[in-house]
């Protein structure tokens, strides 16, 4: 690139004569071109480096959060040890902290919500991805589902308390359990509504990515639409669908406000899905502001650490399952 343009034209006698334009005008033009290409290279480098720094910052952020949680929960870990994980009593007055009721409450309510929501999100994904990808009704449905994800969770909480809980109470008195209304079941229902969009959106884009040759080949062999969905689309997209479900589960595990408004917030062990319960996130939200002893604060932060680790473990298991799906 960097030729000696400054010296004017270069000629070679043994070759057919090739004169490089060396008028001042042409030289400045060439210089400008060179300068521009250098600038382009520099922009490229700066852009790449910016991306890298931001990427690394994300890692630092996650590690920083983990580090802070560990350091801040040290007093509680030292005072309570591993008993914290399976202790059944949470008594701030006597400084006895056991996370088992909340750990169990979190897992039960989240998985129950997942079981309730999966049929709906799968149905929405197939409907929008395969049956009606275009048109005003599918567009409307798509926007409505995305809106579900955009509504603040406190609004779900209010709605659940005012509308859902009385319905649940009627339902409970019909099936013959104590008509409490609030409780794990009500919170799982509202959680199920809240997490539908995550699995549905991802599932829809996955289904749209299925190569049309595969589907056409199946139709050519005489498959019905249901058979194509069952034998071509679902097997082809299962890892993507599962990833969407995993995303929903992550959301359900950490949801705080809507859950705390309807779950009943008791520190006793949950004994039935229709009984009262509590989750780790909602205990932290409820008790953090008024925690008046160092060990108490630390025990609440340790609850956050446990929640963090539970999310990590579930994600790792999910990744393993996705890998297995993809390999065969």
């Amino acid at each position: 690139m960097n030729t000696s343009v400054e010296n004017g034209g270069i000629t070679r006698s043994d070759r057919p004569l090739r004169v490089i334009n060396s008028t001042p005008d042409a030289i400045t033009k060439a210089k400008r071109r060179i300068r521009r290409s250098f600038r382009q290279i520099r922009t490229e480098t700066v852009f790449r480096q910016t991306l890298m720094i931001i990427g690394l910052l994300m890692i630092v952020l996650v590690l920083g959060i983990l580090l802070t949680l560990v350091v801040k929960s040290l007093p509680s870990i030292q005072a309570l040890g591993l008993k914290y994980l399976w202790g059944k009593t949470w008594d701030p007055v006597q400084d006895i902290y056991g996370a088992a009721p909340f750990l169990l409450g979190t897992l039960i309510s989240s998985f129950l919500a997942l079981i309730i929501s999966v049929p709906f999100s799968l149905a929405v994904a197939i409907f929008l991805g395969e049956y009606y990808p275009n048109g005003w009704l599918p567009d409307f449905l798509k926007n409505a589902v995305e809106l579900i994800a955009a509504v603040p969770s406190v609004i779900y909480g209010f709605w659940a308390l005012a509308v859902l809980v009385p319905i649940v109470r009627t339902f409970e008195s019909k099936i013959g359990v104590a008509p409490l209304g609030q409780g794990i079941f009500a919170s799982s229902l509202i959680l199920a509504v809240m997490i539908i969009p995550y699995a549905a959106s991802l599932g829809r884009s996955m289904i749209q990515l299925v190569p049309s040759q595969l589907k056409e080949a199946a139709y050519g062999l005489g498959a019905t639409r249901w058979e194509v969905i069952r034998s071509v689309i679902l097997p082809y997209t299962k890892s993507g669908l599962f990833a969407g479900v995993l995303l929903s589960l992550g959301r359900a595990l950490g949801e705080t406000m809507a859950v705390t408004m309807v779950i009943g917030n008791t520190s006793l062990m949950p004994h039935s899905i229709f009984g009262y319960g509590n989750t780790m996130a909602s205990v932290i939200a409820n008790e953090f502001t008024e925690a008046d002893k160092p060990v108490y604060v630390s025990a609440l932060i340790e609850l956050g650490l446990v929640l963090f680790l539970v999310t990590v473990v579930i994600n790792l298991i999910g990744k393993k399952i996705i890998d297995r799906f993809t390999n065969d």
Binding site: L56, L67, V71, V93, G181, G264
Partner: protein, 370 residues
């Protein structure tokens, strides 16, 4: 190409440096101080606005008082309603001029302070027991025994003989009693559980008192609105809410028998009356189960907490004087705004004690208020 590689390396070095310093900063932050705030700026370095943090119960009254005081004296006060516990920890970290709390500081909080703090009673509040009992139009009478029995789970039906004995002539249904309590830590819970610990030995040993306790029974609602929502929706439910909230939202609540044997309706007057008792010089007294014959028994003070020695963190004497003058105004002239906002004005006894405490505050060893 080589130049490129070089610059790539230098970026890596720079990134590593940035990350390294961030880690150091973070570990410093996470190791220093157990409080919720980690800001290093002291209140003294700020502009002339005074800073306060704490009780959310006090917030409405404080907003009114501070805005009136600002109109009259041009002093700005920024109050963060973050909860009593968080207010105390901000005072401990010296990031505010005063903290506000619905409970006196406990031993552990006290020992975290670098220099002694004083409590000034600022207003009084009460806890009302609201209930939902279809078919019963009379206001119910409750004795301490009944309340403790309900919250311990030993009294389970509304037509229990104990409730019937306190409410002669009222036809009580055989509905099951459902208990509602606060799920979030709160001063309201603290006043209520302190009361129960005083009147019931069983409650004292089994549950105890605090801003969050291990409830033997019942459902937890978030905030006063959560508890009252649960009560409204479920026939047979009883729950405790802050009195001002119950009055504003016109929720029916019960009369409670006090130590003298009288059944008292929670009102602003009966709460002020509850505070008209012998108050110790440090004002750290729980008004629950008051001796006053016309006082409502589930009442409590809310306090402003300041350092007794006001010279710390390069605070100016001017700032300390401003703070003390503000507090003095709040317990005297500022009390006129209480009634309209459903807060109970301080009793004369409480104002006297508060005055004496404010006069005991010093700057560099010398008293601030004359």
């Amino acid at each position: 190409m080589k130049k490129n590689l070089l610059s790539f390396r230098s970026t890596l070095t720079v990134t590593a440096l940035v990350l390294g310093s961030m880690f150091t900063a973070m570990s410093l932050v996470s190791c220093g101080g157990g409080g919720t705030t980690t800001g290093t700026d002291s209140p003294a370095s700020n502009d002339d606005a005074l800073l306060g943090a704490g009780s959310s119960f006090d917030n409405i009254l404080f907003s009114k008082q501070f805005s009136e005081y600002n109109k009259a004296n041009g002093l700005k006060v920024n109050y963060q309603s973050v909860g009593s516990g968080a207010g105390i920890s901000q005072l401990t970290n010296k990031t505010v001029d005063f903290g506000a709390s619905d409970a006196v500081m406990n031993g552990k909080q006290d020992s975290a302070l670098t220099s002694p703090a004083v409590h000034i009673p600022i207003t009084a509040g009460a806890v009302a027991l609201s209930y939902n009992l279809p078919g019963v139009t009379d206001t119910l009478n409750l004795t301490p025994d009944i309340i403790a029995g309900m919250y311990l789970g030993t009294i389970t039906k509304w037509n229990d003989p104990k409730i019937a004995a306190a409410n002669k002539g009222v036809k009580l249904p055989a509905t099951a009693i459902q208990i509602a309590h606060r799920s979030d830590g709160s001063g309201t819970t603290n006043i209520f559980t302190t009361y129960l610990s005083k009147v019931s030995a069983e409650w004292n040993t089994k549950v105890g008192k605090g801003s969050a306790v291990n409830w033997p029974t019942g459902v937890g609602g978030k905030g006063s609105e959560g508890v009252s929502g649960t009560v409204k929706q479920n026939p047979g439910t009883i729950g405790y809410v802050e009195m001002s909230y119950a009055i504003q939202n016109k929720i029916p609540f019960a009369r409670v028998q006090n130590k003298a044997g009288n059944f008292i309706t929670p009102t602003i007057a009966s709460v002020t009356a509850a505070a008209n008792v012998q108050i110790p010089p440090d004002s750290k007294v729980s008004l629950t189960n008051t001796d006053a014959p016309d006082g409502y028994p589930i009442s409590g003070f809310s306090w402003v907490i300041i350092y007794k020695e006001q010279k710390y963190n390069e605070r100016s004497q001017e700032r300390a004087t401003k703070l003390l003058k503000l507090l003095s105004w709040m317990i005297h002239d500022g009390q006129q705004y209480s009634g309209a906002l459903n807060y109970a004005p301080l009793s004369p006894a409480a104002v006297n004690v508060g005055d004496a405490i404010l006069k005991s505050a010093t700057y560099d060893g010398k008293p601030i208020l004359q």
